[in-house]
C-alpha cells in the first residue's frame, strides 16, 4: 500500500486548510491538527504515513511533537515546516530525526518534492523490511531443513543396528553410535575425540582401513569382511565389517566403519551344526540298528535251518543254513570294515600300479554273480593307460562298490525288456585326469535319491545296504585328491565317474 495518509499540524488554520486542499487534489488523504498535543493524539490514533508540522506552535511545539512521534515510531516520516533564519530549531529537528524541511511559505513544488522523498523512503524501508522478513523466514526454513536432515542422520546413526564408528583425517574417533558403545564396551565420552583408530582396533584391522584410505581411488568401499574385535573388557567378538572412505571436494576427510556383531549368528551356527551332527548320529545309529537287525534275522534263520539239518541229518539243509550264516558273517565283516574306513583318517598308499588290471580284477570278481542276475559286465579300457601312481586299494574298493551298486540298479529296474549291462571304462580326460567310469542301464535315480547319495546311512536298498558304501567310496576318492561325479536318468541308467590326478613326483621317484 503506497503511503498516502498525511497529518498536517499548524496553529494557523488557514495554512492547514490550504495545504489540505492542495494535497487532497493530489490524491492524498489528510488529517488536520492545530497544535502539538492534538497532532500527537491524531498521530497515535490514525497512524498517518507522513506528518507535516510547523515548528512554532503554542503549547507543544513542532520539535516536541517530532520528538514524541519519533519516540513512538522511529520510522515515521516527519517533515518540518520552518521559517527563515530559524537555524537552531532546524538543527534540533535534524537531531530529533526529522525527515525533511520545507521553508515557509510552503510552495507546492517544494512540498511535492519533500513528500516524494518521504514516500520513497517509506517504500524503500517497507521493501527492506519485507526483504528482511523474507530473509529471516528463508533462513529459518533452511535452518529447519538442515536441522531435520542432521537430526535424521543423527537418528539414523544412533538407531542403527550396526555399530558405526567414524574417524576424521587424523584417525581420531568422531562418531561412536550407541551400538558401538554396546559392542566395544566403552562410553561415547571415553572414545570421542580421545581414541585413535590404533587404540580402538586390533592392529591388523586398523591397517586394513588405513590402507583402504590410501588407496582411495581403486577401493572406496570395502566389501563386507569378517574379523574379530577386542572389547573394553578384553573379549574377542566376531564381527562382519564394511568401511567407506569419506572425501569432501576430493580431500580425504575421514573413514566410516560399520560393524555387525556376529556372536549370536556364530552361536546359532554352532548350535545348528551340533544339531545336524546329532541328527546324523541318530540317523547313523538307527540305520546301523536296522542293518544289524537284518543280519540278525539272517543268522537266526540260518541257525534254524542248520538245526533242522542236524536233526534230520539233512546235508542239503546243513549247507543251505551254513551258507546263510556265512553270508551274514560276511555282512558283519563288511559293515565293520566300512565303519572303520569311514571313521579313520587314512592316507592313500601310493604305488605304481596298472589301473586296467585292477578294473579287470573287479570285473572278474562280479561277473558270475551278475550273470546269475542276468546282468552283463563289460570292460572298455584305454590301453594307453599302463602304469600309474595311485593307491590300488582305493581304486579297487571304490570300483567294486560302484559296480555292486550298478548291478543293484539293474535288478531294481522294472523294465524287463532291457538287456541289462554294466560297462567299466578307463580313459584320460582333457584335464589329464585318470577316469574310471561305471556305466549302467538300470533304473536310474530320482533327484531326491541323488541328493542324498553321499549322506551317511542313506540307502535305497531297504535293509540290504549299510548306507555306508558310497560314503566310504567318496571318502577314499577324496583322500586320493580325486573327485566322484554322478549322472543319472530315471529309467535309463546312471554313470559314476571317479577322476584321479596324475601324481608325477611319486612316479618319478619310482
Amino acid at each position: 500500500m503506497s503511503p498516502n495518509k498525511i497529518l498536517i499540524v499548524d496553529d494557523e488554520e488557514i495554512i492547514v486548510r490550504l495545504l489540505s486542499i492542495s494535497l487532497r487534489s493530489d490524491g492524498y488523504e489528510t488529517l488536520s491538527a492545530y497544535n502539538g498535543e492534538q497532532g500527537f493524539e491524531i498521530f497515535k490514533s490514525q497512524s498517518p504515513d507522513i506528518v507535516i508540522t510547523d515548528i512554532k506552535m503554542p503549547g507543544m511545539d513542532g520539535l516536541e511533537l517530532l520528538k514524541k512521534i519519533k519516540e513512538t515510531d522511529t520510522d515515521s516520516e516527519v517533515i518540518i515546516v520552518t521559517g527563515h533564519g530559524d537555524i537552531d530549531s532546524t538543527i534540533t529537528a535534524l537531531q530529533y530525526g526529522a525527515s525533511d524541511f520545507i521553508n515557509k511559505p510552503v510552495r507546492d513544488e517544494s512540498l511535492a518534492i519533500a513528500l516524494e522523498r518521504a514516500k520513497a523512503k517509506i517504500e524503500i524501508r517497507e521493501k527492506l523490511k519485507e526483504y528482511t522478513e523474507n530473509l529471516e523466514e528463508k533462513i529459518q526454513e533452511a535452518t529447519n531443513e538442515i536441522r531435520r536432515h542432521s537430526n535424521f542422520e543423527r537418528l539414523l546413526i544412533k538407531s542403527s543396528n550396526d555399530a558405526i564408528v567414524a574417524f576424521d583425517q587424523d584417525w581420531k574417533v568422531v562418531v561412536f553410535n550407541p551400538e558401538a558403545v554396546k559392542m566395544f564396551g566403552y562410553t561415547a565420552k571415553q572414545i570421542l575425540n580421545q581414541f585413535t583408530i590404533d587404540a580402538l582396533y586390533p592392529p591388523e584391522i586398523a591397517a586394513v582401513f588405513k590402507l583402504q584410505a590410501q588407496k582411495e581411488n581403486n577401493q572406496k568401499t570395502l566389501p563386507w569382511g569378517e574379523c574379530f574385535l577386542k572389547t573394553h573388557d578384553g573379549r574377542n567378538i566376531p564381527v562382519r565389517y564394511a568401511s567407506n572412505v569419506l572425501h569432501e571436494n576430493g580431500q580425504f576427510v575421514g573413514t566410516v566403519n560399520f560393524f555387525h556383531d556376529l556372536t549370536e549368528i556364530k552361536r546359532l551356527e554352532k548350535e545348528l551344526l551340533q544339531a545336524e551332527r546329532l541328527a546324523a548320529v541318530g540317523q547313523t545309529v538307527s540305520g546301523l540298528a536296522h542293518y544289524v537287525k537284518n543280519i540278525l534275522i539272517g543268522l537266526k534263520g540260518g541257525s534254524y535251518v542248520v538245526d533242522v539239518g542236524i536233526q534230520k541229518n539233512n546235508t542239503r539243509k546243513l549247507i543251505s543254513g551254513w551258507n546263510t550264516i556265512k553270508n551274514n558273517i560276511r555282512r558283519v565283516s563288511d559293515l565293520t570294515q566300512d565303519l572303520l574306513t569311514y571313521s579313520k583318517n587314512r592316507e592313500p598308499e601310493f604305488q605304481v600300479c596298472e589301473p586296467n588290471k585292477i578294473v579287470e580284477d573287479v570285473i572278474s570278481l562280479v561277473t558270475d554273480f551278475a550273470a546269475s542276475k542276468k546282468v552283463e559286465i563289460k570292460g572298455d579300457l584305454d590301453p594307453s593307460i599302463t602304469r600309474i601312481t595311485a593307491d590300488p586299494k582305493t581304486i579297487h574298493r571304490s570300483l567294486l562298490n560302484l559296480v555292486t551298486n550298478a548291478i543293484d540298479a539293474c535288478l531294481e529296474d522294472e523294465n524287463m525288456l532291457k538287456k541289462h549291462e554294466v560297462i567299466l571304462k578307463t580313459y584320460i580326460d582333457q584335464n589329464n585326469l585318470y577316469c574310471f567310469e561305471v556305466n549302467d542301464n538300470g533304473c536310474g535315480m530320482s533327484e531326491e535319491t541323488q541328493k542324498q547319495l553321499f549322506s551317511p546311512m542313506f540307502s535305497s536298498k531297504g535293509g540290504r545296504g549299510t548306507g555306508l558304501g558310497l560314503l566310504v567310496t567318496g571318502k577314499l576318492v577324496e583322500e586320493h585328491k580325486g573327485s566322484i561325479d554322478v549322472e543319472t536318468w530315471q529309467g535309463v541308467g546312471s554313470i559314476f565317474t571317479i577322476r584321479l590326478p596324475q601324481i608325477e613326483s611319486i612316479a618319478g621317484e619310482q
Binding site: H290, K293, N294, L296, I297, G298, K300, G301, G302, Y304, V305, V308, K317, S320, G321, N323, T324, N327, N328, D408, L411, E412, D413, E414, M416, G462, G463, R464
Partner: protein, 138 residues
C-alpha cells in the same frame, strides 16, 4: 502230495522274498510242518507262480526289486480269481509305514484294498510263523 501223517492234501505255500536267506528259512519252516513250499524272488516272478500254481497261502516280503510286495499284494486283492488267497506279509517294514503306503495307493487307485490278513515284522521265530500259517490254513 500226501503227508506223513496221512492227511490227504498238503497246502501249497508260496514265499516271495528277494533274500535267499529268508527264503531258505521260510522254506525249511514250511517243510518241517508238512507244507509244500514254493519260492519266488521278486514281485513279478511271484505273480507268475501264483497264477501257475494257485497256492493256498502267500508269504510276501514288501521291499523287493522288480515289482515290490506292495504292488503284488494290491494285484492279488483286486483280482477276482486271486483275492481269496490269504496273504501273510513278512517284512522288515513297520506295519505303520506299510498301511500308510496302502492309504496313499488307495487314494491314487481310487479304491480300497483290504488290510493284509496277517502282518509279521521280521525277525520272526519259526513258531510264530507257523502259528500264523496254521491260523490261515485250518
Amino acid at each position: 502230495m500226501i503227508d506223513q501223517r496221512g492227511e490227504t492234501m498238503s497246502y501249497k505255500v508260496l514265499v516271495v522274498d528277494d533274500d535267499p536267506d529268508v527264503r531258505s528259512f521260510v522254506v525249511t519252516v514250511l517243510e518241517e510242518n508238512q507244507y509244500i513250499p514254493l519260492e519266488a524272488e521278486d514281485g513279478v516272478a511271484g505273480l507268475e507262480m501264483i497264477e501257475k500254481y494257485k497256492p493256498d497261502l502267500v508269504i510276501l516280503d514288501v521291499l523287493m526289486p522288480r515289482g515290490s510286495g506292495i504292488r503284488l499284494y494290491r494285484k492279488l486283492k483286486t483280482n477276482d480269481h486271486l483275492q481269496s488267497i490269504p496273504v501273510i506279509m513278512f517284512t522288515g517294514i513297520a506295519l505303520r509305514s506299510f498301511l500308510k503306503s496302502q492309504k496313499v495307493l488307495d487314494e491314487f487307485d481310487n479304491g480300497t484294498v483290504p488290510e493284509p490278513d496277517i502282518y509279521l515284522e521280521k525277525p520272526v521265530e519259526p513258531e510264530e510263523l507257523i502259528e500264523a500259517i496254521r491260523q490261515k490254513l485250518k
